[in-house]
Symmetry: C3
Subunit: 365 residues, 3 copies
């Protein structure tokens, strides 16, 4: 399609701060990264590090940030362009024009083992070797990839996708339009053991896990169910790979968790909380709306809404940054301190000498 | 059942420091979290944060800590109660009265592919699409969920449960009464590569992994086998989700590891060691009996029995707590140090001035 | 076989700094760890911690480092030995003489569900319940264990092994002689969501993941594909369990990543980079050839070739070690600083007193 047609299809004119090169309108047949783009593709440039790529790319069109220098470069190189403060969003829409992820074939594969009591919606796709236990309810147009196992009494909402080899444990409720990626385990038993002198007594995990609509869970992530009550992930929250969410956590809507984040039991996340990779959050901590936590932080206690924190234990980001900068100077500070002690000792000697001197010379002494 | 009957069934009278409200004996039909409990349920209150819930809960009965204020609140609100210093344990027993986890149907599913040389005990349940290779020995009443793969020469003890999609590698020995949760990989190849100028030479992992009786392994956790000898997890040790245990580790009995803990090769844990979430332990470190390691710690060397450590590298908990508290003041300390240097320099000038003055005025000069 | 024959078979004479005990030539029937070795086995001793085992082991032969004391001990105890600076490598070769890992039976199991459009090479082994989608190309002598799912358009090179329950996503290219361990997910969707006021817009992940020849990926590790372009793992790189590699990372050849390492999007690793356990690397960071990163480090920015770094944020290892050593003395430093301030204040008073004194006694005042 023509570049102009593409811009129309992705609703470019609705985007803020838009500027378009009026002179060029190449044919666009695909999307590509700016470094390896070929003629006929559209690409995008966003971060400073990639700006220079405009001078090298073979892309026929570019989505640019609002940056006149980059626009000039594109014009010089006869590359069609559109500029917006939402370049990443526009690029996402462009990709979606050319690409649809693979889906398992429609219908129910004859090898799927489905309990007679399960209720299956219309337009459902169920792959080979899927196992669905008793009293499961599957909504309409749900797509289940091969080798998924669904324990009893699970509910899955319309259009949700379960990728290969994931396991949905008993009584889990998954909303509509969710995506569970390969190998994830949802609603598994919380880690509940009571210490006794002889070892550990298991606390049965009789609760449930609930994922609201639009939740994504990454590959091999695990979301446990609690002893009583529920573990809940709010609407539209996105969870990356290898994340652990402990029993009884309550996560509100629109949160994002990067890979390898871990949450102990009973953690509460507000709305739009963002956790960077490998963050850990302690038992029962309450994290307010809009909080952002830097990578590898260890959050040991409640965090007020809207704050940005970092470190272990996590503190205000700016404070953490300052402390971290000084940290590298610790050996130097330690030497300075020793030197100060020496100098101070010396000054003390000098003063003592002076006092003796004065005493010696004081006419009244 | 009546509250009094429930207390008898869970052996409440054997628990330490017990006190019971003699006046109320409601019907109890289930367990619930204190915040969302309905009439007819029993719940429990343990931590300070939840104490106020006694004034709001609709639960008909409560398991309380030894706390007279909470008891009074329960009495005021006509809630039956029992008090004990082991509230959590008693609640675990109450849950077990009302709840049994789902188990795969008894018998062997016709789709299970079982090598003719495998020995299968009595009363075993094997789910759909399970694959059991040659020379495997399965004990009595073992329950194997769908899509589990068991490599050759594995031994599995009586009553052990393997959840869906977990993989037990060749020659692994799993004891009785173990639970392996979904997606865990047990006895997989240790990460053994010898550096050579051209890259890496693989060291074959000819050893085995042994889990003693009563071990639990969480979802998607991995326990590798070594090049020679064994990796061993001691009786009744409990391992949470996404934990990695490297080749040749030797873990003694009754340890507990929270989610995302990682152990390099050859680590040794004593008895009743507790590792909080995301802890890492370096190659060959020996951790003594009863050691507790705080979340996200990096243990770089041996730890003496009975100590509590924290941090990276992990040090005595109290020391780490003090250092951590001072850490946040580093920018302030750095400024103080600069200020001290300035002041000291100034004092030095003053002293020099005084010495000159004295010299000038010294009658003997 | 005789010890001398074993040495010949493993090419011992090609190894550097070799010395051999000429007098003993026992029969060797297996390999074993030095602590539990039996008569008839060969073992090895490498690290200082294990040196004393030479005085206790029942092994009939030992591979030793170039250490005369250990050689003497072996001679005293009538243990045959060979000494080399490459003891670990020689031991790896000895293990390979006695051990071959289990492989799935040759041929295609009748329960495997293979799309008619898939191209399958010669001498391929495909286990029970494997699912292979459309347009997949499988090379010669590839071995695929049970319950593996291969999405459409995947290519797998000759002799590659896929262990049980791993998932290979659409369009992934895996080279020859790779090993993908149980439960790993390769080529899954990158974590791509664009923030908008209402929540998140998904960026489709239309790129691919490429593993070059000789790559190993550990159990339950995840390697995502990007929105556009490719995620690439270079030839002969080795990845341990539970590692996450984000979308668009480019890893060069011969790297090694220990368990639970996490890489955000677009990270670039040079050749022979070694990442210890639980290391995290931030978005787009470029790590030079030969870099080594200590356990649990957080790498926030580019790292120059050949450097060794540690800490969060990671800095030069020696500097990090010094800072870490001082860190433990922070409480003491804080006290010293307070004490210095007090002493300095006192000195100031003394000096003021002296100045007053001088003024009083100055004949010219």
């Amino acid at each position: 399609m023509k570049f102009s047609e593409l811009l129309e299809k992705i609703g470019a004119s609705n985007h803020s701060s838009l500027a378009i090169d009026p002179d060029l309108d190449p044919d666009i047949t695909g999307v590509a990264p700016v470094q390896t783009a070929q003629v006929g593709t559209i690409s995008y440039v966003e971060r400073g590090r990639f700006g220079a790529e405009v001078n090298r790319t073979a892309a026929s069109a570019l989505i640019l940030p609002m940056d006149e220098a980059l626009q000039s470069s594109a014009i010089d190189r006869q590359i069609a362009w559109v500029s917006t403060s939402e370049a990443r969003l526009l690029f996402a829409k462009a990709i979606a024009l050319f690409y649809q992820p693979f889906q398992v074939a429609s219908g129910i594969h004859p090898t799927a083992v489905i309990d007679l009591s399960a209720q299956i919606g219309e337009g459902v796709s169920i792959g080979a070797y899927v196992v669905i236990h008793a009293d499961v309810k599957i909504g309409h147009e749900v797509r289940i990839h091969p080798n998924v196992v669904i324990y009893p009494e699970v509910q899955i909402g319309d259009r949700t996708v379960l990728h290969a080899n994931c396991v949905i444990h008993e009584r889990t409720q998954i909303g509509a339009d969710c995506v569970i990626h390969s190998g994830a385990a949802i609603g598994s038993e919380g880690f509940g053991f009571v210490p006794v002198p002889e070892g550990w007594v298991k606390m049965e995990q009789s609760g449930i896990t609930v994922l609201e609509d639009g939740v994504e869970v990454g590959c091999n992530s695990t979301i446990d169910r609690p002893a009583v009550g529920e573990t809940r992930v709010g609407r539209n929250s996105k969870i990356d790979n290898l994340v652990h969410i402990g029993h009884g956590c309550r996560i509100r809507e629109n949160c994002a968790m990067a890979a390898q984040v871990g949450m102990a039991g009973g953690v509460q996340l507000g709305r739009r909380v963002i956790l960077a990779g490998q963050v850990g959050i302690a038992n029962l901590a309450e994290i307010g709306d809009g909080v952002q936590v830097g990578a590898q932080s260890g959050v040991h206690s409640d965090v007020a809404p809207g704050t940005v924190v970092w470190g272990t234990p996590a503190i205000a980001y700016k404070q953490a940054l300052k402390a971290s900068a000084v940290y590298n100077r610790l050996p130097e500070m330690h030497r300075s301190l020793k030197e100060l002690q020496r100098q101070l000792h010396e000054l003390q000697s000098q003063i003592n000498t002076i006092e003796n001197e004065i005493q010696r010379t004081d006419p009244e002494a």
